[in-house]
Symmetry: C2
Subunit: 285 residues, 2 copies
């Protein structure tokens, strides 16, 4: 069992990881190194100490900092977290991990996902192409793709499925061909009975499908960890980055505005220190 699990490898997750390392904690860190929102920023001028930098340069410096400390995120998407007997069970790509405490640094994702998403999770809704794709061989699926970096997963799914209805949630996507139909607008909700039966587009169009893949950098907090107290679209935290669940901390954009790198880095630091204090107190009890 790990002392801690960090979910997310943006600035908040990185800052938490650097600090947990310095604090001598044994932790697992989930997320995709690089290629996230920082790397996509054109220029950043307000992160003290780096002057005027491109997002790519800042991303390299962040990754280099982690590498110098001998830490790197596991490139796995955490799709479920469950509190159990004073610890947490995390599910990532069909493997289960145990940790005494958790830091959520999942970024600014929609708090609840699509209507129907949580309801049909595991019953037609999936977050992981490589885990669940084979279930939809020869079937009809919808794919919500949040970023170009998931297009290879969408292409993989399109090869397996008979028909793939594709919605890229960003301006331009060149993905086409082979059983792939571009939707005319965003997916508004997911319908089903025992299992997913259809998607509904924003204009009301209903399309029958057997499954829906939501390819995103992170799962919506309320789906990831049911029962986690929210504050509107954000995870509710106090000044120590403690959430409403003992041993669960949150940092960065997922805790609210301003969506700023410096704020995320500061909260990652605070969350790591609060987590260390939590483990020390739990050790005494």
């Amino acid at each position: 069992m790990f002392d801690a699990a960090i979910v997310g490898a943006g600035p908040a997750g990185l800052s938490a990881a650097i600090n947990l390392k310095q604090l001598g904690k044994d932790f697992i860190w989930f997320g995709s190194a690089g290629g996230g929102k920082v790397a996509k920023s054109e220029l950043i001028a307000n992160y003290p100490g780096l002057g005027l930098v491109s997002g790519g340069e800042m991303d390299r410096r962040f990754a280099g900092h982690a590498a110098a400390l001998g830490i790197a995120p596991e490139d796995k998407l955490v799709t479920g977290i469950m509190p159990l007997d004073g610890k947490y069970m995390l599910l990532a790509e069909n493997q289960v991990y145990e940790a005494r405490a958790v830091i959520l640094a999942t970024g600014a994702v929609a708090a609840k996902g699509l209507p129907g998403e949580q309801e049909y999770l595991g019953r037609g809704v999936s977050y992981c192409a490589t885990c669940d794709g084979f279930l939809y061989r020869g079937k009809r699926i919808a794919v919500l793709c949040a970023s170009p970096c998931y297009e290879h997963e969408a292409a993989y799914l399109a090869q397996l499925a008979e028909e793939t209805f594709f919605w890229p949630a960003y301006p331009a996507s060149a993905l086409a061909g082979g059983g792939l139909t571009r939707l005319s607008g965003p997916i508004a909700r997911i319908l089903g009975q025992d299992k997913v039966t259809a998607i509904v587009l924003a204009d009301g169009t209903e399309i029958a499908v057997d499954g829906v893949f939501c390819l995103r950098s992170a799962v919506a907090p309320a789906v990831l960890l049911p029962g986690l107290p929210m504050d509107g679209p954000h995870i509710a935290v106090d000044r120590q980055c403690r959430t409403g669940l003992a041993g669960c901390f949150a940092a960065g954009d997922c805790t609210g505005r301003p969506y700023q790198i410096a704020k995320a880095v500061g909260e990652g630091n605070v969350a790591a220190h609060a987590l260390a204090e939590y483990l020390a107190d739990a050790g005494k009890a």
Copy 2:
């Protein structure tokens, strides 16, 4: 009148200044550039993006970042702040400045100063050698010196006064000679009637003096801005770095633990954004 005044030039003040500059605000920034706690740190390993750096190197990078944006702190000590008609009046070395909002980034100083300090402020207690030193020509004074960087002020006072009782609040001080008497222990309290009459040392020794100079990087928040709601030794703030006074924000060590550069930088960013929102709302009203 300025949009904002920032009090303090450590990481929190710097971050606030960089962001107010980016947000297009007209502000004045008080504090000593460089030479603070950052510069004195031997090595810093947990500020994401800078890897393993010396405090001196980080200090230079911070100063360079501000310089690149064309901003620098005014090297003046703010000794009093007063809310007045929806704005703030700041007193710094006998000059008065007006600002619509304030960010306090004064660092981790004792919340209330010495017993008697607030009571006799302006009646024998002073924070500014160059402002008030001449009042003590030929008199007996005590000097509490928080850092070697104020020794030149202490030496200046020792030249003016007949006798100077000196207490450096750090391990080694070479300051000696010319009417300067090193105290055997820290000053525990300040006594007076209409004005200061004496200091009392930790061992109970009472020494008659006409004045007490407290040479520190910042004035204790509760002395600086009477009525500011505190949370124990720290300034009480919410998640947006708002204090209990409208238009007054706080960031960094003065708002509480962990005393970390990343946390201070994050809060400086948050405070600047919250201040901009406050000004926008005030403009609408």
